[in-house]
Symmetry: C2
Subunit: 193 residues, 2 copies
């Protein structure tokens, strides 16, 4: 059954070892940030530093694993029809809009959508790590300069993630203008047994 | 007063707001991993994702700030005589040597040197984030492929970090063969008022 995350919101749920999570961009050009925790002990969680180290690549896609801060495999990426994701940048937060967008007003953010949806699992704001940013198109040049470009994903693009342990997963439909080519769309997901 | 970290060991200490930390590679080609915590609340700590996001660059050097998971500035980099550092890869850990070096035996690691030195401050292994890897030379290509190359630092190269809040700092003399061109050397540091 396909579940729908409305624009600028999020969801959190359990995923059992062996189950496959399908994350879909139904309209195209929409990023979904994802964080993952060990369901048996949420102090074990997804780590960008461990993943980039063990996979020896900045660009994480089909065939790569997502690793934990305890150096264990959390998910295997079985499919990635788009192929461009980001694992460098932190989820957008209230300060992202204050500091980078010069917007002092309230703005929805992936960070808020993570910690509100993860609260029932006992996970607090300080526990939210750098997310794996599905469909996010962060380009880098040889001198290291980063730019957040429009996603390359088309309507219907998806990724498949196989759980390597029992997990708590949180997903968002990202709330940052620059990451989603200026408009906010939903994200769909499905748990496959 | 210059303090000395012996090869393959580490140190942890407090740094007051406004003080400047000097980290020196006394012999050349030696990496020092650094992690930083808010001394008043160690749940606030250095974040690679927030730093790369706010600084809009993979390569962090003079003029950049190191940011926390709460989107606050922790340190300003005042000087960097070498200029090549890494903020992508997690500190080497026992699993680094088991998985990437095929070495099942005990091996010193930055991760162990962090958590043993941080224990007196109430910081546990799971609290250790991705470190800022001073003098570490991680090259990346346009397709994202990463390679750990010999450090470019020469004897006497140093960095200066100004504390933007009261901090707990941990430093290592890195224990990984590939990161240090195959030999292990000390790291020196000094706190300047």
């Amino acid at each position: 059954m396909i579940q729908k995350i409305a624009k600028q919101t999020g969801a959190a749920f359990k995923l059992k070892k062996g189950q496959v999570l399908k994350v879909i961009d139904p309209e195209g050009e929409q990023v979904s940030d994802m964080v993952v925790f060990n369901a048996a002990d949420a102090r074990e969680k997804i780590s960008s530093g461990k993943t980039l180290d063990f996979e020896e690549n900045i660009l994480i896609t089909k065939g790569n694993f997502l690793w934990s801060n305890r150096s264990r495999k959390m998910m295997e990426i079985l499919e990635d029809t788009n192929g461009r994701n980001d694992f460098l940048l932190a989820p957008c937060s209230p300060e992202t809009f204050q500091i980078m967008y010069n917007n002092p007003d309230y703005h929805p953010s992936c960070f808020e959508n993570f910690y509100t949806n993860l609260k029932p699992f006992g996970i607090e704001p300080d526990d939210v790590p750098t997310a794996f940013n599905i469909f996010m198109n962060v380009q880098f040049s040889a001198d290291g300069k980063l730019s957040v470009d429009p996603p390359l994903s088309k309507a219907g693009d998806y990724m498949l993630f196989k759980a390597e342990m029992d997990l708590i997963v949180a997903l968002t439909a990202c709330s940052a203008e620059d990451s989603n080519n200026g408009s906010f769309k939903p994200i769909h997901f499905e748990v496959l047994d």
